[in-house]
């Protein structure tokens, strides 16, 4: 796509560039993984898409929504009440605690649920049961009517997945005990509706995953990482993304951004979403000044401050360290399971703590001196 110097008004050119989305390799891989997870994961699974802020998680969600719509189009034509997906953004709590009532309401609005203010609590029907036939939802539970209505709506509308964006807001809870409850709510929602729930969020979501092993068993992680500067391939892909943006900048003269790729990397921390928003701002600055191309001063004037970038980079680095690649985690897992012989245990790992049962009559080795022991054998005394 080539832009001639004066075809469109400035506002239109800015809008067109803002809507531009580049299919660079990392989201392409994440998209394939997520679609496969939604289609193949057992009903009621939880899929977590974890990535640093500004890496493009919302763009990924929009792409997956489009694919799910296309994939389920034949079904939509035969089933008038079905929906291909439900997508909702978990709202940041205004009082410090995440509100499920608000979340249920938003999700029901996304489902175009009628009679939202007249929902009744399930005080005579027990539709929501776990595998043992026990009612999971008490009739007096707070927001019980909305929770009940949401479960019924998802069961009847049969979406392929419930996508919850900004899911790290679920962890905004005052106490640790309640954090575990948050997890239970998500698990039971996924279980009762027998629908795959996708949580997209920053690495803060790991707090939920690490809370217990049960979610680990039922959840699948997709790491949507940023481009890292220590990988040659990543740098190459980042430069290609920069080149793609450069080609599509609606300016009379195409700027050459590749010589300043390290500045672009530094202030975007390798996250293409941050880079794109930055280029949006720089483009506006250049067009407002009436420049024919993007200059370095436009980029510098509109960049995130180094301290902001540092904070993002630190968070990303900490999160990445928790989601180590399998070849680094595997020896630790094997060590933990007592299988250290074949895979080798990393030196920092403490030895697996196993309680040995003492046998009656068998002396502990530390009771006996070694080396300079007197010739008078104490063992003889015991060997009676």
């Amino acid at each position: 796509m080539k832009f001639s110097p004066t075809p469109q008004p400035i506002a239109e050119r800015i809008r067109a560039f803002r809507l531009l989305t580049v299919a660079h390799p990392l989201p392409l891989a994440a998209k394939d993984q997520l679609v496969a997870a939604i289609n193949e994961a057992p009903a009621g699974s939880i899929v977590m898409v974890l990535g640093p802020t500004g890496v493009g998680k919302t763009t990924l969600r929009l792409k997956v929504q489009q694919l799910l719509s296309e994939q389920n189009r034949p079904l939509m034509e035969t089933d008038p009440s079905g929906v291909p997906f439900v997508a909702v953004e978990a709202a940041a709590p205004d009082n410090g605690n995440f509100s499920w009532r608000d979340h249920y309401r938003r999700t029901l609005i996304e489902l175009s649920e009628p009679m939202l203010d007249r929902k009744i609590k399930p005080n005579w029907v027990h539709l929501v049961q776990d595998s043992h036939g026990q009612q999971l939802l008490g009739p007096r539970a707070p927001a019980g009517e909305l929770r009940h209505a949401l479960e019924l709506a998802v069961l009847n509308r049969r979406p392929a997945a419930v996508l919850i964006d900004e899911a790290q807001h679920l962890t905004r809870i005052a106490s640790g005990r309640k954090l575990a409850d948050q997890l239970e709510v998500i698990k039971s929602l996924a279980n009762c509706t027998r629908t795959v729930h996708v949580l997209l969020g920053t690495y803060d979501l790991l707090a939920l995953r690490h809370l217990n092993g049960q979610l680990g068993r039922r959840s699948l992680d997709i790491h949507f990482r940023r481009y890292t500067a220590d990988s040659h391939d990543d740098v190459r892909m980042f430069k290609n993304a920069v080149l793609t943006f450069q080609r599509h900048l609606p300016l009379a003269e195409q700027p050459d951004l590749l010589p300043v790729w390290d500045l672009l990397y530094e202030r975007s921390v390798g996250c293409i979403g941050i880079l794109k928003e930055w280029l949006d701002r720089a483009l506006i600055a250049a067009l407002k000044e009436g420049c024919v191309t993007l200059a370095c001063q436009h980029l510098e004037a509109t960049a995130l401050s180094p301290s902001q970038c540092e904070k993002i980079a630190v968070e990303a680095h900490e999160g990445e360290a928790q989601l180590l690649p399998a070849d680094q985690v595997r020896p630790r897992l094997r060590g933990l399971l007592g299988l250290s012989a074949s895979a080798g245990r990393p030196p920092e790992m403490p030895p697996p703590h196993r309680r040995k049962r003492a046998r009656v009559g068998q002396r502990k080795p530390k009771r006996d001196q070694i080396g300079q022991a007197p010739s008078l054998s104490r063992n003889a005394c015991h060997r009676v």
């Binding site: 929009l62 719509s69 189009r73 939509m76 034509e77 009440s81 009679m115 080609r247």
Partner: protein, 72 residues
Amino acid sequence: MLAIVYDLWSLALPTLPPRSRLYSLAPMGIGTSQVESLTSYVMRLAEAHAVSPGTLIRQEIFPNLPLTRISH
């Protein structure tokens, strides 16, 4: 090093046929002599929407009935 220009992603949703306002529950026993009554169907429809049958009739069914007012 060979530079590559990546493709663009379109994020526009395809247009789907309009979704029904209420869930399309199939009447029980349809095609048999044991088919459920309209009263039973309305009860079940209300239950599926987590509302009382009265609310369903007042807010959804009645306003959409093409009835003309009968005067005596």
